[in-house]
Every structure is written in structure tokens, then in C-alpha cells.
Amino acid sequence: MLTPPAAVHALLFAASGPLTKEHLGELLNLDQKELALVLNATAALLKGSGETLIETADEVELRTSFEAAPIVKKLRESELSRDVGKASMETLAVIAYSTPTSKVGAPTGSVGDGATRGEVDWVRGVNSSASLRTLLMRGLIEGREDPTDKRRIRYTLTTEALAHLGITSVKDLPRAEELHAGAAAIIEHEKADAATFPDPE
């Protein structure tokens, strides 16, 4: 059985940002007086756990505890200094080479600039969401709305990433035309397939 304090904990974890006390009360069918008691119990539940409850007048949020600050700092530093890694390197490569070399210099955001998550998945054959997250966090790629489909995000290399690679444009990448053509062919093929056979699963 899930106790009310544990339910609050789970909800705050899943929300990952602040939740209003009003919203929490609704979700748990509790009035504000009852909720206040439950929140005290949640705070007690979390004591010594590495997480803590932050409470303002009308909001509640989950954070790492004060004592955890040094180890979390170590995590952040290690994340940033780590190698890009094989999966993220591949993801970055697909994004970098997806921009048609002929189109470089055309207004940004036009179709074919960079790649969407689906396109990266197609080329790599595996789910790439974790890699995209890492690359975004490391400031190597940035996302913007796909001009043809606003629900999709199209990722491109940041100017910092280009500078780090020592190039001014993706057309200066090694074997730019050849590798672009390889990736583009797979994407085109998948697009045609997706149009003919809607994904059976």
C-alpha cells in the first residue's frame, strides 16, 4: 500500500518541478489541513535519504539535500569532463552530417537543417534520447521547432561545437558529401517506408 506521504513523494518526483499545494490536494483528495500533516510526514520520511522537501507558502518541491551538495557537484563535474562517448558521438555525427552541404548558408531552420530525434534513431537504429539529452546538456547541440511540423524538434550543432571542431561550417567536415549522402539515403528510405506502411507497432 502507498501511504499518503509516499504518494506525495512519488508525485513530486514525477513532476520534478514544484507542484502547488492546491494541485497536490486535488490529486490526493485531501483538504489543505490534511495535506499540511501529510507534508510533514513526507519531510520526515525523507530525512537522511539524500533528498529533501522544499516548501513555500503555496508550493512544494523535491531537491537533493544540503549534505548531498558536494557529491552532486562531483557528479556535474564528472558529467562535463567525461568523454563524449560512442553513443553520443554517433548521435552528434548524424546531426552534423544531416545538413546538406549545398544548403549551408541558406536560412537556418529550413528543412534538412540538422536532424530530428526520429531521424537520428533511424540512422543509428537505436533509441537516441539519452544521447540527445547529454549533448544538449553539454551545449554541443541545440533544438528548435521543425518549420514543417511544429511538434518536432530539429537539432543542429551549436556555434561553440563548430568552433571546437575547428570548422566554420558543417561543409568543412571530413568526407562531408559522401557521409551526408549515406545518412540522407537512410532517412529518405525510412520516410518513404513510414508513408507506405504506418508503423505496425
Binding site: A10, F13, A14, A15, S16, G17, E79, L80, S81, R82, D83, V84, G85, K86, M89, E90, L92, A93, V94, A96, Y97, V123, R124, G125, R133, L136, M137, R138, G139, L140, E142, T158, E160, A161, H164, L165, G166, I167, D172, L173, P174, R175, L179, G182, A183, I186, H189, E190, D193, F197, D199, P200
Partner: protein, 240 residues
């Protein structure tokens, strides 16, 4: 390019076998397998559009079923060591697959029922942090590796496809041979240097003709040839 083709979900041979056995409320054993042989062969024939490599598996299994069935029809028939191994293998794999199907159903029941949710997406504050391993050359290498891996996957299945005999072709050939010569030996018919699968397909087709009453099969001693005879009562069926 099998890697990109969206294959329709057709049933595999084990799945069909288990379905047929379960329909009859039987347990997986020799008796059950000999009872579903015809239905299984019907299925192989009805599915002309299997990818060729799948058809091979289907025909191989059909052939093993025929071995099991013919053993029950012709008590004198002694299966060779290889044939016995095929029969045992099929039964073992079927038993394992039965477990897998159960496992799959268990997973299906649990799937998405009580998902464990992730922490919500938090706003990411990007902090530019490339690493030593990131270079233009490494990028090119990474993409080239991905493209090469895909190419390998796409080329792989073609190498495995073997030219195959269909049941129909073999039936046809068998019928013609039987018509032209009143008797002939099974060994002669199946040839001596053909691939095993072809021998089995011949055997399968032969037994089917026997069952239809089109020919009579006699085996004079345990290890001898099976002699085929065109029966007077029935004309040889035509296929194709």
C-alpha cells in the same frame, strides 16, 4: 533491404504448431504432432509469400512432422540417427518455445500496468563542455561506422538464402515419375547427392500421395528402398 522493410507479423512455425495442438486440447507429444501434420502442411502451402528463408524453416519442420507421422503409419519404418535427432530437436525446441510464449504472455499482462515513472524532464541549463575525444575526425569515423554497420545488416540475409524446392514442385516431379514408371525406388527418386531438405520434401510429397491413394508404397525390408507403385484405382493428381 530487410533492415528497413516493415515486415508484417506472420506467425512462426512453432507458434502455428502450438496453436494447432492447443486447438485440439492436446499435449506436445508424438501423437499430437502426427495429428496436426496435415494442417501444418496446409499452412505452409497457403503462405506462398513467406520470405524465402522462412519457408525453408517451415518446410524443414513439415518434413520432421512427416517423419513422426510416417513412423506412426508405417511401424516398420526405422528413422536414421539424423532423423531421430531432428524429431527430438523439434520436440525440445517446441517445449522451450511453449515456455517463451508463456513468458511473453506474462510480460504482456504486466506491460504498462504499473509503470515506474521517470523523474520529470527538468529544464536543462547547457554548459558548453566538449571533451578530448570530440574532433571532426572522430565524428566522421562515428558516422562511417554506423553506416557500415547498417550495410552489413542489410547484406547479411541474402547470403543465407538457399535455392529451395517447393512442395508443389516436388509433388509434380514425383507424380510424373510415378506415371512413367510403374515402380521406382524412393532412393532413386530422391537422388543420392541432393541436399537433405530435398530428400525430405520428396518423402513428404510421397507420403501425401500414398495418403491420397494415388500410389502404393511398399518397403520390403527395414532398411531397404520404399517401392512406389501407381495404383490402378486412382489417377495421379495434377498440380500446378
Amino acid at each position: 533491404m530487410p533492415y528497413t522493410i516493415k515486415t508484417p507479423e506472420y506467425e512462426g512455425p512453432f507458434e502455428i504448431l502450438l496453436d494447432l495442438i492447443e486447438e485440439r486440447k492436446l499435449l506436445v507429444n508424438d501423437l499430437a504432432l502426427s495429428q496436426i501434420t496435415e494442417d501444418f502442411i496446409q499452412h505452409v502451402r497457403a503462405q506462398a509469400d513467406f520470405p524465402i528463408e522462412e519457408t525453408a524453416t517451415f518446410i524443414q519442420i513439415a518434413a520432421t512432422l512427416i517423419l513422426i507421422k510416417s513412423k506412426s503409419l508405417i511401424p516398420d519404418l526405422t528413422l536414421s540417427e539424423d532423423e531421430n535427432a531432428d524429431v527430438e530437436d523439434l520436440k525440445r525446441r517446441l517445449a522451450a518455445y511453449e515456455k517463451v510464449r508463456e513468458a511473453s504472455r506474462e510480460l504482456g499482462r504486466a506491460w504498462g500496468h504499473h509503470p515506474l515513472f521517470t523523474i520529470g524532464e527538468r529544464a536543462i541549463e547547457p554548459f558548453f563542455s566538449p571533451a578530448r575525444d570530440l574532433s571532426a575526425g572522430a565524428l566522421a569515423e562515428a558516422l562511417a561506422r554506423v553506416l557500415a554497420a547498417r550495410k552489413e545488416v542489410e547484406e547479411l540475409p541474402e547470403a543465407r538464402v538457399k535455392p529451395l524446392v517447393t512442395i508443389e514442385e516436388m509433388m509434380d516431379a514425383l507424380a510424373k515419375r510415378v506415371q512413367s514408371a510403374m515402380t521406382l525406388s524412393f532412393k532413386e527418386f530422391s537422388g543420392s547427392n541432393k541436399e537433405k531438405i530435398e530428400v525430405i520434401v520428396s518423402f513428404l510429397a510421397l507420403l501425401e500421395l500414398v495418403k491420397q491413394g494415388a500410389i502404393e508404397a511398399e518397403q520390403f525390408d527395414q532398411h531397404g528402398d520404399i517401392r512406389l507403385k501407381h495404383t490402378a484405382s486412382a489417377s495421379v493428381p495434377h498440380y500446378g
